[in-house]
C-alpha cells in the first residue's frame, strides 16, 4: 500500500525523524491560511501516488500567502498521470534554512539476502533507480539481520558515508536508526528519505518522505489502513481489489482472464508471440469463486478496445467449475460482452465442461490454440 507524502511525514515525526513544518490543504484558501500562519515562503505540493510531480507542474514555490493561494488553485484539480489532485501539502520553506547538501537514505527488503537493505547515496533529490543503474558504486549498502535489528555501528557507518562532521554523523545515525524502527514497527516494504538535507545551521533534516507498506501485514496496522486514500484508485482498481483480483490494463485488444500470475503473464506472452496484443493482465488468483469471474468479465469488457476475451484456466486450487459458473452468470447479467474463448484444464475440468456445454460453449484444452483463436476473433474472425 502506498500513502501520501504528508502522511509519510507524519509518521516520520512519530518516529522522531526531523521534518519541516507542513499542513494539508484541500482548498486554495486553506493553503493561503497555512502560509500566513507559517510566516515564511512555502512549497505547495500535489498529493498523488505517482513520481514526477515536479515535472508535471504539481510542485510550486510561493513567497507569499497570496502566491500560495494561486499555486494551490492551479494545482488542485490538476490531472497528474491519470490521478486527479484533491489535496496539496503546504510545507514551510524558511529562507534562513540554507541547504548545504542533499543525499539519499532508503530502506528495503533484500529477498535474495533475506535481510533488510539500507542504502545511502551522497547524491540526493535525484532518481535513485537511475543512479543505481548508471553508477552503482555511488550507493552504499548495509544489510540488517531481521532477528538482530539495526545495530548502532551500522547506523554510524551509513552516516559516516554521507558526512564528515561529527554532529551530522550523530544526527544522521539517529535518523537512520529511527527510519529502521519505523520500517519494522509498521511492516513497511519501502522507506525513503530523498533528499536528506543538511542546513547551514548544521541540522540534518528529511525534506521528503516516502513509505510503502507490506499489504500482507496491513491486518495488524489499522492506523496505516486508515491512511488509505480511495481517490488514488480507479473504479476498476477498486472493483479488482474488492474481489482480490490482480488487474493491470494495457494497450491491446485481447482481454485476458487467467488464474495465476505466471500463467497470466505467459498468456500475454503467447498472444504477443502469435502477433496479437493483450489488453490487460488479470489474475483471478487461487481460491476463485463465481463472483470473482463475473467481476473479471466486467473489468475486462469495460475496455472498449477489447475485441475478444481469452479465459485461460489451469485448475489447481482454482476449480474449473467455479470459473464456468461465473462465466455463465456474467454472460447472463452483463451487456455488450465481446466474444469469449475459453480454455480449461485441471481440477473439476469435466464438470466445468458439462456446465459450459449446456449453454453451447465448447471449451478448448490447448492454450496456444486458444490464444491463436482469440487473435483471429479479435481481428474479426468467427468465434
Amino acid at each position: 500500500m502506498k500513502i501520501h507524502e504528508y502522511q509519510a511525514r507524519k509518521l516520520f515525526s512519530r518516529f522522531d525523524i526531523p521534518v519541516l513544518p507542513g499542513e494539508i490543504a484541500t482548498t486554495a484558501e486553506e493553503a493561503e491560511e497555512i502560509t500566513t500562519k507559517f510566516k515564511v515562503p512555502v512549497y505547495v505540493k500535489a498529493q498523488v501516488h505517482v513520481g514526477g510531480r515536479g515535472k508535471a507542474g504539481g510542485i510550486k514555490f510561493a513567497e507569499t500567502p497570496e502566491q500560495a493561494k494561486e499555486a494551490a488553485k492551479s494545482i488542485l484539480g490538476m490531472d497528474i498521470k491519470g490521478y486527479k489532485v484533491s489535496k496539496v501539502y503546504v510545507v514551510a520553506n524558511d529562507p534562513k534554512l540554507i541547504v548545504t547538501s542533499e543525499s539519499y537514505l532508503g530502506l528495503i527488503l533484500d529477498r535474495g539476502k533475506k535481510a533488510y537493505c539500507f542504502m545511502a547515496c551522497a547524491e540526493g533529490g535525484v532518481e535513485i533507480e537511475e543512479v543505481a543503474r548508471k553508477t552503482p558504486d555511488k550507493i552504499f549498502k548495509i544489510w540488517i539481520d531481521a532477528a538482530v535489528g539495526m545495530m548502532p555501528f551500522q547506523a554510524r557507518k551509513l552516516a559516516k558515508f554521507l558526512y564528515k562532521d561529527p554532529s551530522m554523523v550523530k544526527q544522521a545515525s539517529q535518523i537512520a536508526a529511527n527510519l529502521f524502527k519505523l520500517f519494522r514497527c509498521l511492516d513497511a516494504s519501502l522507506a525513503e528519505i530523498n533528499p536528506l538535507v543538511t542546513f547551514k545551521t548544521g541540522a540534518v533534516c528529511a525534506l521528503d518522505a516516502k513509505i510503502n507498506f507490506d499489504d500482507n501485514a496491513l491486518f495488524r496496522h489499522s492506523d496505516i489502513t486508515e491512511m488509505y486514500d480511495p481517490e488514488m484508485e480507479t473504479d476498476n482498481d477498486r472493483k479488482a481489489k474488492e474481489m482480490n483480483l490482480s488487474f493491470v490494463p494495457m494497450e491491446g485488444n485481447i482481454g485476458c482472464i487467467v488464474n495465476g500470475a505466471g500463467l497470466a503473464m505467459t498468456t500475454m506472452d503467447v498472444i504477443k508471440y502469435y502477433g496479437g496484443e493483450p489488453a490487460n493482465f488479470l489474475d483471478v488468483g487461487g481460491s476463485s469463486s463465481p463472483e470473482k469471474v463475473k467481476t473479471a468479465m466486467e473489468l475486462v469488457s469495460s475496455d472498449k478496445n477489447v475485441k475478444s476475451i481469452l479465459i485461460n484456466i489451469f485448475g489447481g486450487i482454482t476449480r474449473c467449475d467455479d470459473i464456468a459458473k461465473g462465466l455463465l452468470i456474467a454472460l447472463e447479467t452483463l451487456k455488450d460482452i465481446p466474444p469469449v474463448i475459453v480454455r480449461l484444464t485441471g481440477t473439476n475440468e469435466k464438470i466445468a465442461r458439462e456446465i459450459l456445454l449446456q449453454k453451447g460453449f465448447n471449451a478448448l484444452s490447448n492454450m496456444e490454440e486458444a490464444a491463436k483463436h482469440a487473435i483471429k476473433v479479435a481481428e474479426g474472425g468467427a468465434l
Binding site: 531481521a146 532477528a147 500463467l263 503473464m265 481440477t347
Partner: protein
C-alpha cells in the same frame, strides 16, 4: 526416488476444516497421498473423509506419526501454524497460504534453518512426486511418473509445462512449485541440488519469471554444480516495467530483472530457454537424446 516427498510421506493437513483444506485433503487422499491426520484447534475427535482431526500438530505427530505438514490456515494464523509444525517434529512444511507478512517470513526462515526443517512456499501450489505422493493443490491427474524434475515459481504455469511434457511422453520425478513471495523457504537452487542428487531425475525444467534475480543465481549455480540437462522457460516478456503483475515475485525492480535479462543469462551458461511452453519437450529431447 524423487525429491522431498515419496511413499514414506505421512501428511498432516493444518486447517483441514476450512473450504480449501477440506477439499484438497480429499484430493490428496484420492491421489494416494498418505493423509494421516488433520489439525484444527477445537475440533479434535471429528474427522474429514475418515481423516482424524487433532487439536495440535503435537497430538497428530504422537498418535499418527506424521512427518510432513501442508498448511491451509488463513494468513493471520499461518505463521503460528508453521512454528507449531516445526516445534512438533515435522521435517517438511508445505505452506499453500498466501498473504503472509514478509517480515515474519524473515524470522521464520532462520528458525527453520536452525531446526533443520524444510519449508516449501508460502503462497505456493506444493509439490507432487507422481505415483508416490502429492502435497498441495496441484491437479494430480495431469502428472505422470517419469524422469523429469520440474521446478517453478508459479503454480499454474508449472501445470501447463507438465501438461505439455506429458503430451510429449515425458513424466516427472517430482514437480515442485516454490512460490512467488519475496521470502520463500525452498528456492530454485535447493531444488536443483536435490534433483542433481536424485537418481530418478535425468533432466530438469526450471520455470522462472520476471522480478528478483533468483534465476540469475540459479544459472550460476547450474554452471558450477549441475551436470544433468536443464531447460528453462521465463514468463513475463510482455510485462510493462514497473507494473505489478500479481504476486510480489513478479515486480520488475530495476536493472537485470527483466525476462530478457534472465533469458540472456541462462543462454550464457548453456541453458536453453523455450520461447513457448510447447517447445520445452523438444529442447529436452535434444539434450536427452
Amino acid at each position: 526416488m524423487s525429491i522431498f516427498i515419496d511413499k514414506k510421506t505421512r501428511l498432516v493437513v493444518q486447517g483441514i476444516t476450512g473450504r480449501d483444506g477440506a477439499f484438497h485433503a480429499k484430493q490428496m487422499l484420492d491421489y494416494g497421498t498418505n493423509v494421516a491426520a488433520g489439525v484444527t484447534p477445537g475440533k479434535a475427535g471429528q474427522n474429514i473423509e475418515g481423516i482424524p482431526i487433532f487439536d495440535s500438530v503435537e497430538d497428530a505427530v504422537k498418535i499418527t506419526g506424521v512427518n510432513t505438514s501442508v498448511i491451509f490456515v488463513p494468513p493471520a494464523f499461518a505463521i503460528d501454524a508453521m512454528y507449531e509444525a516445526a516445534d512438533s517434529g515435522i521435517s517438511l512444511i508445505v505452506c499453500i497460504t498466501e498473504g503472509i507478512p514478509t517480515q515474519d517470513m524473515l524470522i521464520l526462515h532462520d528458525y527453520l534453518k536452525k531446526k533443520n526443517v524444510r519449508l516449501i512456499g508460502p503462497n505456493c501450489p506444493g509439490l507432487i512426486s507422481p505415483g508416490k505422493s502429492k502435497v498441495g493443490i496441484l491437479p494430480g491427474h495431469i502428472h505422470r511418473e517419469g524422469n523429469i524434475g520440474v521446478v517453478s515459481r508459479s503454480g499454474t504455469l508449472s501445470y501447463e509445462v507438465v501438461y505439455s511434457l506429458v503430451l510429449a511422453g515425458y513424466g516427472q520425478s517430482t514437480s515442485i512449485g516454490i512460490g512467488g513471495d519475496p521470502v520463500i523457504g525452498t528456492n530454485f537452487i535447493d531444488a536443483l541440488s536435490h534433483f542433481q542428487k536424485d537418481p530418478e531425475t535425468d533432466a530438469i525444467v526450471l520455470i522462472g519469471e520476471i522480478g528478483g534475480n533468483d534465476e540469475q543465481e540459479s544459472a550460476d549455480y547450474i554452471q558450477e554444480n549441475i551436470s544433468k540437462p536443464v531447460v528453462s522457460f521465463i514468463a513475463g516478456k510482455t510485462a510493462p516495467p514497473g507494473k505489478r503483475m500479481g504476486h510480489a515475485g513478479a515486480i520488475i525492480t530495476g536493472g537485470g530483472t527483466t525476462a530478457k535479462d534472465k533469458i540472456e543469462k541462462f543462454e550464457s551458461v548453456g541453458v536453453p530457454v523455450a520461447t513457448l511452453i510447447s517447445k520445452i519437450p523438444g529442447l529436452l529431447k535434444e539434450r536427452l537424446g
